[in-house]
Symmetry: none
Subunit: 411 residues, 2 copies
């Protein structure tokens, strides 16, 4: 079955709000095995709405509309669609009473145009709205289905979950299970080159790569009846991808890099502290965003000035003078001073030039040194990142966590 | 002129991402006097993309596509549209060199499929991409215009602003100058109540409020011929809004709260250091994201454990035992220890419960204490934030910076 989502509302076309309804509905429809081929957005204009509905019905089995069910004159979805499908609008007594009650409860006066919301297409299923006055409805027509829902997510989502989703599950008898694999350290194109044949050979589960912020994500989705069947279908495919991508694959359930790192640290009971220059607290902040991190994260230093590197981390003035603050030597002295001072088993230091400004002839913006210490073993790597200040800092954090992960796992 | 926005990407139809590009572009197009009648979203499918383009060209003067310009096999926007419009793809030397350089700089190998991004429709205007490898392009064809942009907002937005918006301004003969006013400390509805009459009375410039992450933004946009005329139109309106909103108005040129704080610190030559518990480096990280911050930012401490609060900031064990780590007393001792140690004129300390977990009967998740020290004057405020861990931490940082701003300005 194929669905199309048709949003109605001039405020969407003015850019006042974003069409998050379409995202929500698409995700849920895909989960129940209904493909979505198109989204469209049209304004509060009967002619254009009627044409969009006609087009949608020419290419989909199910059309879900959002918006245009309100009490104002602009709200014409119900009227337009009922007319296009040859259904009369008739008053729905239960809905009328519910709307009257809704106003009574709030000591507000029910207006004439609110009564209009109690008129619904004849021979349709009513979708009650417990968070507003506009009910939705489902019309079945010669094998096709039109579902009308209100626009505000606060009303639309509960109505979809309570009434529409169970209705669709019964129709399809299917569910989709997905797993999110995450890749780091190779680009989208290299990843695809390595696993293209696996992607092409797969039909169930399907494999779909896409790109996030500094990481590549692969979604493996199986159409099946239950979780066990899903695992049986997905597990061997994940293993195949793992064999090709090796240590670049860092998560198989959509975890972030910091979630993976914190989970590893907790599992191995490794305490950690960090010392940051150019990232300026971003690495600590990412670690601290993982709930329960206090078990292993002890403290962090943002040693932005040279003076603070000397005072807090005992970096020698000689090293700073001879090699500069952005150097392998300084990164290593930072991490050494750090673990000596905090007594944690692991330590990370980052020093670099985030730019703009601060670059010299032989040290461009984007040059970053990251050092890791783990049970007195040390390593340091040099990176040359491109992009703006924010990107250089983000990439520094992700690479630092990835280095730590690989060092703990002995990869 | 009428525009249509056509987004290409199966990830949108799967509900993995939301079509925020369409919202952004709609707002900007409306500002330059171009109406948007439809948005549509189609997957990475050449046949359906071609049909959608045909439909869009049948009802709009300008079609802007987003997405599908990446290096992978799925990315077919350019090929499909060029074919539909009878244009050959030819290699664009400058773009090829730019992509090669992009990979060289990062010490990464350029793959065969990256070269594909250098092929662009003949006789088209190239839109350079400074934040990725996929260039965009503008095709003019018998009075109609097709603009192709990449999907990731980080690439799409700068390309639109640098190349497409000025191009459209020239086409429409209209220019829009906007100023972004930023409000903190009152909600959208209160702000709207306070200035509703000003909004309603304005036609040029127009005033449009919208809500960002933890802040309210008001865009004042004037239609006019040049910058001087714009200032003449906008300045008195900004002054009127300022009179109503007082110290809640913190920026009149779209600056972030940290940019405002850093600019103030630099102007007054006030050095600063920070000590963070629940925000875990986020405050330092926000400060460090402002270029040139090294003039005034000295260092930061992420004192997550009680032990680190004692060792690094000389918080007394008694205080921690009697009042707890999340208390006014601890926040004040943290900031006192901090400025004593670093010798900076200003200091900020934050301690709180970001949740989930960590809450007690009388200390709920969201409870945060923020202390500021400025030239030995101290103040401390208690906050009760609602929302998830990330929101509690973000609101803590914004409020800390806002407190500092007001203390420096004597507000």
């Amino acid at each position: 079955m194929v669905a199309e989502i048709l949003a109605v509302g001039t405020e969407l076309l003015m850019g006042q709000i974003s069409n998050t309804d379409a995202q929500y509905l698409s995700r849920r429809l895909n989960e129940v095995g209904i493909g979505v081929f198109y989204h469209s957005v049209v304004g509060d204009n009967p002619r254009r709405l009627k044409e969009s509905l006609k087009l949608a019905l020419s290419r989909a089995d199910i059309v879900i509309t959002t918006g245009g069910l309100g009490p104002t004159e602009d709200d014409l979805t119900k009227e337009t669609i009922a007319e296009a499908m040859g259904r009369k609008l008739v008053v729905h007594d239960e809905t009328y009473r519910a709307i009257a009650q809704f106003f009574e409860k709030q000591n507000r006066k029910m207006m004439e145009n609110n009564a209009k919301q109690a008129y619904l297409p004849e021979n349709s299923m009513i979708i009650p709205n417990h968070n507003g006055t506009a009910p939705g409805c489902i019309i079945e027509n010669g094998g096709q289905i039109v579902v009308m829902l209100p626009g505000p997510p606060k009303e639309m989502i509960p109505m979809f979950e309570e009434t529409v989703f169970p209705y669709l599950e019964k129709k399809t008898g299917q569910t989709i299970y997905s797993r999110m694999l995450k890749i780091f350290g190779i680009g989208e194109s290299e990843m695809e080159t390595r696993i293209m044949d696996i992607i092409d050979a797969q039909t169930n589960p399907t494999i779909a790569p896409y790109v996030g912020a500094g990481e590549v994500v692969i979604r493996v989705s199986a159409r099946c009846r239950n979780k066990n069947e899903a695992d049986e279908l997905i597990d061997p495919v994940v293993q195949k991808i793992k064999d090709r991508l090796g240590s670049h694959l860092f998560a198989i359930n959509g975890e972030t890099m910091e979630e993976v790192a914190v989970a590893l640290l907790k599992e191995k009971e490794i305490t950690i502290s960090v010392a940051e220059s150019c990232t300026g607290g971003m690495l600590a902040s990412r670690l601290v965003n993982v709930p329960g991190v206090s078990e292993i994260f002890e403290r962090g230093f943002v040693t932005y000035s040279n003076k603070s590197k000397i005072e807090e981390l005992s970096v020698s003035k000689d090293t700073l003078d001879s090699f500069g603050a952005v150097s392998k030597e300084t990164a290593l002295e930072m991490v050494r001073g750090l673990v000596r001072r905090t007594g944690t088993r692991a330590g990370i230091s980052i020093t670099g030039i985030a730019g703009p400004g601060g670059e010299t002839d032989n040290k461009p913006a984007g040059l970053v040194y990251i050092a890791i210490s783990l049970d007195r073993n040390e390593m340091c790597r040099e990176f040359k990142f491109i992009g703006d200040r924010e990107r250089v800092r983000t990439m520094s954090c992700l690479n630092a966590l990835n280095m730590l992960r690989k060092m703990i796992l002995g990869l």
